[in-house]
């Protein structure tokens, strides 16, 4: 039975049954025969020379199977960075070795020094406490803004702690734009450092198989093939085909599980030496210290406008904290994924952006939901709103004057937007948010002694990462295509293998909808397999809102090949020419006749080829496809936030939040809304609650939920979400753009614009993120003193 109209329907997620009934299989659920357990000894100091690592007492502790230190692993490679950034002066970024286990020095609090393996976790813990490390503590570099003048080098190769000074855009054209500006808005601000906090902590379980000298690694990861490639080719020197990486059910990633980390690499290496499967699951306190963090920019930005409020130029200088080592994508997040987004939705003719990437004695910083694009959006949308306030122009009107209105549009920072309709999302958001009723609500708040404010954010992101040739020209050391395989079984049931990885996104549902509709078969006749290098032919994984746009397209291409082959089989059976066969609703039909074969009949024929064109066609019905996108996709929309601020305490309450988005075509509206809701929650977390703070010695002050505030249900308003029919992407067959990061990208500036709007009558110009009660009160008090 065909299933028309599956695409576009809010079908309940097929994976939820197992998640909601406790049947999910996460890495920590995998226990192997003869399982052993690992604990890492971590540095309590942010910066220290290792005089000695003494393991003899620990090695004698009960149950200990082995202790591995940096010395043991000194011969293996460092953890690689996947993106080469070239500085303005033409020199490549500094790439000091990122050792799996610290060798001569530790460079951040929490860096792994030794791996202790024992029969039980408790024995491993007890032995780890007996490892004696003799530290020569050094001064630490902990502050982003002053890292270049710290007087202490994190790495010898970078005496001033500068990894690269990268730029994009046209500096002289931008300077010229400022020279003729009628008004310049200037802001300095911090994009606050965040700690990812997926609900499932990182985990790994590695086993060496003596029979064929191969390995299996179970790991909580977003891209198992990339994990394998980086680990085998760049670090351990193992044959790629001898390592199987399985990323089973994964409980959230948000970017933090893209990267090749030290822990799983050490486990794989040690599993052969110790000859036992070794399992490690991060404690939450380890996650705080040693997962890659996000954001952490210090920026000065200037926006030049003419007398009519038209943007003339945008000039940006950012210092981005990279942490102690370059993580897998650490270098491209604050550059390629940031500077190129600074046009936003606006036809700003000249943009120049310079980014200094600095090393510090803090955990590595890498992609976190949005990855560079939230930082760019925050900058653009705060600047635009501030300019509107300074010029006393309605902030929606100022945006309208500057919207890009004809497509394709090439920005001054290197991207070409294929399509969009920014007026549509703005206009609808203004309606949904009842902006007309704001003045009355503000008056009502004032009667309660509260200050009400409203803030907009018209965001744009580049998703569907990425055209490989473009990425390669920009320094990527990997391709960014995706692979898919469609395996039709003899009964016409279908298993789809995708290189994308689902860790909350609902791919098993969304991809099934696409395949079932294209093949005209039942939704339940399709299963999606992902996350295993032994099953899936290849994959680049899930990040950058790419899975449907890139991974889904690869699947569609494979489906198209299935249909093309099916037509040839049908033509043979129906004694017609290939060109006369039409396929729709699960039936192959001779055009203009009632002669037809069902999809299941063709599948059976392919596997029981008694009457089959064997001279022209192979039996079987199984197709692969690789898809490399020709452009990024450009989701966009408008977020509107309304807050009430209590000036006596600084407490901010988000009263209402509206998100109106254009994601192109939508396969499952419920899943899309869930992505927006979740993304907005994370964005509100950044704006109001989350602050990763190190002290001057590089100690993590916000190292637990006692001090790091994650958003909870009662911190959040009901978020009104509407996805417009929108402007379908012009260069992928599904017309989809991606929705996974939009909520986290668009929302922080809307919140902060609302808070600063509320506080403007008190003379407050800006409040830092997160706008905690203390931060808001401090800003109010500072303004009162002026």
């Amino acid at each position: 039975m065909g299933a028309p109209g599956l695409i576009g329907r809010s079908i309940e997620r097929k994976e939820d049954y197992r998640f909601l009934t406790g049947q999910g299989q996460y890495t920590d659920d995998v226990s192997l025969p003869n399982q052993s357990y690992a604990v890492f000894v971590r540095s309590p100091h942010a910066h220290a020379r290792l005089r000695a690592v003494k393991t003899s007492d620990a090695a004698r502790s009960p149950g200990v199977l082995g202790i591995i230190t940096g010395k043991d692993m000194a011969a293996v490679g460092g953890l690689p960075c996947g993106w080469l950034i070239t500085s303005l002066d033409g020199t490549p970024m500094k790439e000091p070795k990122h050792p799996v286990l610290a060798e001569d020095k530790v460079r951040y609090a929490g860096e792994a020094i030794a791996l202790v393996v024992a029969d039980s976790l408790q024995q491993a813990r007890e032995a780890a406490a007996l490892v004696e490390v003799d530290y020569d503590v050094l001064p630490a570099v902990a502050d982003t803004a002053t890292a270049t003048q710290a007087g202490t080098a994190v790495h010898e190769q970078a005496a001033d702690n500068v990894c690269f000074t990268w730029g994009c855009g046209d500096k002289s054209a931008t300077d010229a734009a400022f020279a003729r500006a009628a008004h310049v808005t200037t802001m300095e601000y911090v994009n606050n450092r965040l700690i990812p906090n997926a609900i499932e902590p990182r985990a790994a379980n590695a086993v060496h198989h003596r029979a064929d000298d191969s390995y299996t690694l179970y790991v909580a990861n977003q891209n198992p093939h990339v994990e394998r490639l980086l680990m085998t080719a760049f670090v351990l020197g193992l044959p790629e085909h001898k390592v199987r990486v399985v990323a089973p059910d994964v409980g959230g990633g948000f970017g933090s599980k893209i990267f090749l980390y030290a822990e799983e690499t050490a486990l794989v290496w040690a599993s052969k030496r110790i000859d036992r499967p070794i399992k490690w699951t991060a404690e939450r306190s380890e996650s705080f210290l040693a997962d890659a963090h996000g954001r952490d920019h210090v920026t000065r930005a200037e926006l030049a406008l003419d007398k009519d409020g038209k943007f003339l130029g945008l000039r940006v200088h950012t210092t981005a904290n990279l942490g102690a080592y370059l993580s897998t994508f650490g270098s491209c997040v604050p550059t390629i994924l940031y500077g190129t987004l600074l046009a936003g939705q606006y036809a700003t003719p000249a943009i120049y952006c310079e980014v200094k990437g600095v090393f510090s004695n803090t955990a590595p910083v890498d992609a976190y939901r949005g990855a560079g694009r939230p930082e760019a959006t925050y900058l653009v949308e705060r600047m635009v709103e501030m300019a509107a306030r300074e010029l006393r122009i309605d902030p929606a009107e100022l945006r309208r004057r500057n919207f890009i209105r004809s497509f394709p549009y090439t920005t001054p920072v290197g991207l070409t937007y294929d399509t969009g309709d920014y007026e549509a999302t703005l206009a609808r958001a203004l309606q949904l948010a009842d902006v007309d009723g704001f003045a009355a609500r503000r008056a009502a708040s004032a009667r309660k002694g509260l200050l009400r404010g409203i803030g907009y954010s018209c965001y744009l992101e580049a998703c569907g990462l990425a055209p490989s040739n473009v990425a390669g020209a920009l320094g990527a050391r990997a391709g960014l295509f995706e692979a898919g395989e469609v395996r039709v079984h003899p009964t016409g049931k279908v298993t789809v293998f995708t290189g994308s990885h689902s860790h909350g996104q609902g791919h098993e549902t969304t991809f099934s909808q696409v395949v079932a509709e294209k093949l005209g078969i039942g939704f339940d006749d399709v299963d999606i397999v992902h996350g295993d290098t032994a099953k899936v032919l290849f994959g680049m994984g899930t990040y950058g809102s790419r899975s449907l746009a890139v991974g889904g397209t690869a699947i569609v291409k494979a489906v198209d090949k299935i249909i093309a082959k099916g037509k040839k089989i049908a033509a043979h059976l129906l004694e017609a020419s290939d060109a006369d066969i039409e396929f729709s609703g699960g039936e192959f039909r001779v055009a203009g006749t009632d002669r037809k074969k069902t999809f299941a009949e063709i599948a059976l024929t392919a596997y029981v080829p008694h009457n089959f064109p064997l001279d022209k066609l192979e039996p079987g019905l199984n197709e692969n496809a690789f898809y490399d996108p020709t452009n990024f996709t450009y989701p966009a929309g408008t977020h509107i936030c309304e807050v009430e601020v209590d000036p006596s305490t600084g407490q901010v309450r988000v009263d209402r939040f509206t998100a109106c988005d254009d994601f192109g075509n939508v396969v499952n509206p419920m899943i899309v809304e869930g992505q927006v809701q979740g993304g907005v929650a994370q964005g509100l977390g950044q704006a109001l609650l989350e602050a990763c703070r190190y002290d001057a010695e590089g100690q993590l002050l916000s190292g637990s939920y006692m001090d790091y505030a994650m958003p909870r249900a009662d911190d959040l308003p009901n978020v009104k979400v509407e996805t417009l029919a929108g402007t379908p992407c012009t260069h992928n067959p599904l017309g989809v753009k991606g929705c996974g990061e939009a909520g986290a990208i668009g929302s922080p500036p809307a919140v902060m614009n609302a808070i600063t709007d509320a506080l403007a009558p008190l003379g407050v110009r800006d409040v830092p993120m997160p706008a905690s009660p203390y931060a808001v009160w401090t800003a109010i008090r500072a303004a009162a003193r002026h």
């Binding site: 609650l689 703070r693 006692m706 505030a709 203390y774």
Partner: protein, 262 residues
């Protein structure tokens, strides 16, 4: 490091098991977490949950007596408490989360004397008396400093006696992450006597004499306006400076008075 576990069936038996590094286990909401983090490693745990009769709630004409092992959830749900001292029920309902309230006990909270805990503010603000297996300790003598109380090493809290005030209310301003108090203020009025206890702001719960003086003159919200609380000695951390806490104390006291009168 081995930890012995005991589950006595009487207070007397429990007292005999104390000594050395043995610790009493009540609801375990602080101690067990500290043990998991390696911050506490007692030689023995003496679990009070096997002793019957320690978790009762009893109302008399002028006072409410709450057994040391009464959980926050049971105090929050008690109709007797809600009728006699609604502020106390409301305070208990705002401690931690549902799981914490179902396990955590009033006796455990008081013996721990966390500087940001709610119950110390209730006990000091309402002028309660701590009943132990050996004696009665007035609230004003009980809280000595950071995690420090007047309890002797082998002394066990068995109950807390709360005098019923005419009016009282508790206002808590939550730290965004832990949701402990950045500042919590308990205000209670009985006759001409006004007590104002502040938790979260200092190293230990304390009475604000400035606010008590102002509110004794007139028990009205506006009496708190303009009262200056000295920031000296108050806590400063990621979530608020001493100045911020000093600022919040009269703000919250004002709200508490309004609620007490409302």
């Amino acid at each position: 490091m081995e930890t012995q576990y005991h589950r006595p069936s009487s207070v007397a038996e429990a007292a005999k098991l104390l000594g050395g590094d043995a610790r009493l286990l009540a609801g375990g909401q602080s101690l067990v977490a500290a043990m998991k983090l390696g911050l506490a490693s007692p030689s023995a745990l003496v679990d009070l949950r096997g002793i019957s009769g320690l978790d009762g709630i009893r109302t008399e004409a002028a006072r409410v007596t709450i057994g040391a092992m009464a959980t926050h959830a049971s105090v929050a749900a008690s109709r007797d408490v809600a009728r006699a001292i609604p502020a106390l029920a409301q305070l208990a309902a705002g401690i931690g989360d549902r799981q914490v309230r179902s396990c955590g006990t009033i006796g455990g909270s008081l013996a721990n004397n966390d500087p940001a805990a709610c119950y110390p503010a209730a006990v000091l603000g309402l002028g309660a008396t701590i009943q132990t297996d050996k004696r009665q300790i007035p609230a004003d003598d009980f809280f000595l400093g950071l995690f420090e109380t007047a309890l002797r090493p082998e002394e066990i809290i068995t109950a807390v006696h709360f005098p019923i005030p005419e009016r009282s209310a508790y206002e808590k301003f939550r730290q965004p992450a832990s949701r402990f108090s950045i500042v919590g203020v308990m205000v209670a009025k009985t006759g001409a006597n006004v007590r104002v206890a502040v938790t979260g702001a200092g190293s230990c719960v304390f009475r604000s004499r400035e606010l008590e003086a102002a509110l004794t003159r007139k028990f009205a919200p506006e009496s708190c306006d303009g009262v200056q609380v000295d920031a000296k000695g108050l806590n400063s951390d990621l979530h608020g400076s001493a100045e911020y806490r000093a600022h919040l104390i009269p703000v919250l006291a004002k709200r508490a008075v309004a609620r007490a009168l409302g």
